[in-house]
């Protein structure tokens, strides 16, 4: 079983203003992150990435991931700052058939004269809520030693006021 994608995440994923980035690992171990504007989820919970370029680093890295069990990450940043990182593995590369044809037409309806190399099906392994407000609250609750002391000071106006009170 792989983790369920929450309604909140799915809403962010489906929103047209959301930034979607797929980060893979090159052969030499260096990271490679690019936009994935057509990224969406299937009803069965698999993510779908349209790879437009056959020889792109992302296409090669996803293939390497499928062949040699390497993970990669997808990052979603919503218009209101909601941020999710999804760790996933490549499950399948579709290169032919009716679904591939529909994806091709979908890409061209947005980009005009574009091509499609593969429809990658990606299986989520872990979902991390990286929304700043959520992470900040969690950080402060669980790791109080990471807080700079000046953030904990009594506000200066209040301190002066307190000192001048009779």
């Amino acid at each position: 079983m792989f983790p369920q994608l929450t309604p909140e995440l799915l809403e962010v994923l489906a929103h047209p203003a959301t930034h979607k980035v797929i980060a893979t690992i090159d052969e030499d171990g260096s990271p490679h992150a690019v936009p994935s504007p057509f990224l969406h989820a299937r009803p069965d919970g698999l993510l779908v990435h349209y790879e437009l370029l056959e020889t792109s680093a992302t296409n090669r890295n996803l293939l390497r991931g499928l062949w040699f069990d390497r993970k990669f990450a997808v990052t979603l940043v919503g218009a209101l700052g909601q941020t999710f990182v999804i760790k996933a593995v490549p499950a399948k590369a579709e290169i032919s058939g009716p679904a591939f044809g529909r994806a091709f037409e979908s890409v061209r309806s947005v980009l005009g004269d574009a091509d499609l190399a593969a429809v990658w099906l990606l299986r989520p392994q872990a979902v991390i809520d990286e929304t700043y407000t959520t992470r900040k609250r969690d950080e402060e609750d669980r790791h109080p030693f990471s807080i700079h002391l000046d953030r904990l000071l009594v506000p200066r106006d209040q301190a002066i006021s307190d000192r001048t009170q009779p």
């Binding site: 056959e54 020889t55 680093a57 390497r64 062949w67 590369a93 290169i95 032919s96 044809g101």
Partner: protein, 423 residues
């Protein structure tokens, strides 16, 4: 080291798991694909029960026959989840093939009763069910792979006229069967071919390559001029469909002279050229390919391949070998090491001059001279060969996109080259 330890350590990996363990740098899926090609497949009744001609490509149009000698409705071939094809031939159960059966309605490859990997049957293109202007099913004029259109302008080979057909080939018996049982024309009308291609290309993103091949034809003012003429006529008609002079395509043909190659290049839109030498050893070439030896010769075949690079450009010319026949008794190499050494030396000689070598797994077919033999090559041998040929492409910077998983799908060595990065 004790004798038993020595023999254990030097024992060649035999099973899929052992070979995968011995070659961790090769994807297990490619090793599996290679072994399925080597051993063949048998479809269970349940696997065939989900075969739907409206959805799936069905066997029947191939220029070569099946290992079990039957023409019957079965999946044309299989797709793995990495997009790689397994181009296979149905094989009798007695020959110990992999079995395709179902798991929860999904076709799976089985071995020893264990499910190994999900597979998809090749999807049928929309034009397959339509009829051509002459009343032939379009699929019998132009066939399809997952991303490739296949045109066989002539399904015969004149090397067979004096008994000099290649020893592994069954083109002529298969053509007789196909003509009789499937109403497949022996020669195609170029205008009708172009009409079928046009119909096929109405389907979005269905095809990214066009492939032509036929049997050799020695006829003409110069040997093979008639064969060249056939390709030129078909390619010219197809070329009228495109707005660009050149279009992604591959011609697999006899090794032609410079003048013939230049004519093809100048008068058609074809972008890449393949002339299969079949086996990379002169003595075995002469034995297994007597027609090619009679009309061209081994060294001249190689020379013409190299000259073709001048015409089509680097990374646009290759040659194919039927890997396994070099080990076939009684003339084959005595050991796999000896065969590998010889093949890779010869392949390197070609590679340094700009010619790639790719292999297919030999599948003995009943209609061929070698049809009664069993392929003696081990899975480990095929993987070492794939790695060796891929390494030559890396060393000599030879891209192979025109004959890769998308444009052909029948070469384990070019599957490895999917990760090539010449940027």
């Amino acid at each position: 080291m004790s004798q038993s330890a020595t023999s254990l350590a030097s024992r060649q990996p035999a099973t899929l798991a052992e070979v995968a363990a011995a070659h961790p740098d090769v994807p297990r899926l490619i090793i599996l694909k290679t072994d399925v090609q080597r051993r063949g497949v048998f479809y269970s009744d349940r696997a065939l029960s989900v075969l739907d001609p409206k959805i799936h490509s069905i066997t029947g149009t191939h220029i070569f026959g099946t290992r079990d000698g039957k023409i019957a409705p079965r999946p044309e071939s299989l797709l793995l989840r990495d997009g790689t094809s397994i181009i296979i031939t149905p094989t009798a159960l007695e020959e110990d093939p992999y079995v395709v059966d179902l798991v929860d309605g999904q076709p799976f490859l089985f071995d020893g009763g264990q499910p190994l990997e999900a597979v998809d049957y090749w999807p049928a293109p929309a034009y397959y069910s339509k009829m051509s202007r002459s009343g032939v099913l379009m699929k019998n004029i132009v066939s399809a792979r997952p991303q490739r259109l296949v045109v066989n302008p002539s399904r015969t080979c004149t090397f067979w006229n004096n008994g000099n057909g290649c020893g592994f080939c069954d083109i002529v018996p298969q053509t007789k069967k196909g003509t009789k049982e499937l109403n497949i024309p022996v020669t195609l009308d170029p205008v009708e071919v172009a009409e079928v291609v046009a119909e096929a290309l109405r389907e979005p993103a269905r095809f990214s390559a066009l492939f032509l091949t036929a049997g050799s034809n020695v006829g003409g003012a110069a040997p093979f001029d008639d064969e060249v003429e056939t390709y030129v006529r078909v390619l010219r008609e197809i070329g009228k469909l495109f707005r660009t002079k050149k279009f992604p395509s591959q011609l697999m043909a006899t090794a032609f002279t410079e003048a013939q190659l230049q004519r093809i290049h100048d008068e058609t839109g074809v972008m890449s050229y393949t002339a299969d030498i079949e086996v990379l050893d002169e003595a075995l070439f002469s034995h297994h390919c007597p027609g090619k030896a009679e009309w061209v010769g081994y060294e001249e075949w190689k020379r013409r391949l190299v000259r073709a690079v001048d015409v089509f450009g680097p990374g646009r010319v290759n040659t194919g070998i039927v890997a396994g026949i070099e080990l076939a008794p009684p003339y084959g190499f005595a050991t796999e090491d000896e065969a590998l050494s010889r093949i890779l030396d010869e392949a390197e000689d070609l590679a340094r001059q700009g010619v790639s070598t790719v292999y297919i797994v030999w599948s003995p077919r009943p209609g061929s001279v070698l049809g009664k033999q069993r392929n003696p090559a081990s899975l480990d041998y095929y993987i070492r060969l794939a790695k060796g040929l891929h390494a030559l492409r890396v060393e000599y910077r030879l891209p192979i996109m025109f004959d890769d998983y998308r444009h052909c799908g029948n070469h384990p060595d070019t599957d490895l080259s999917r990760l090539l990065n010449f940027d």
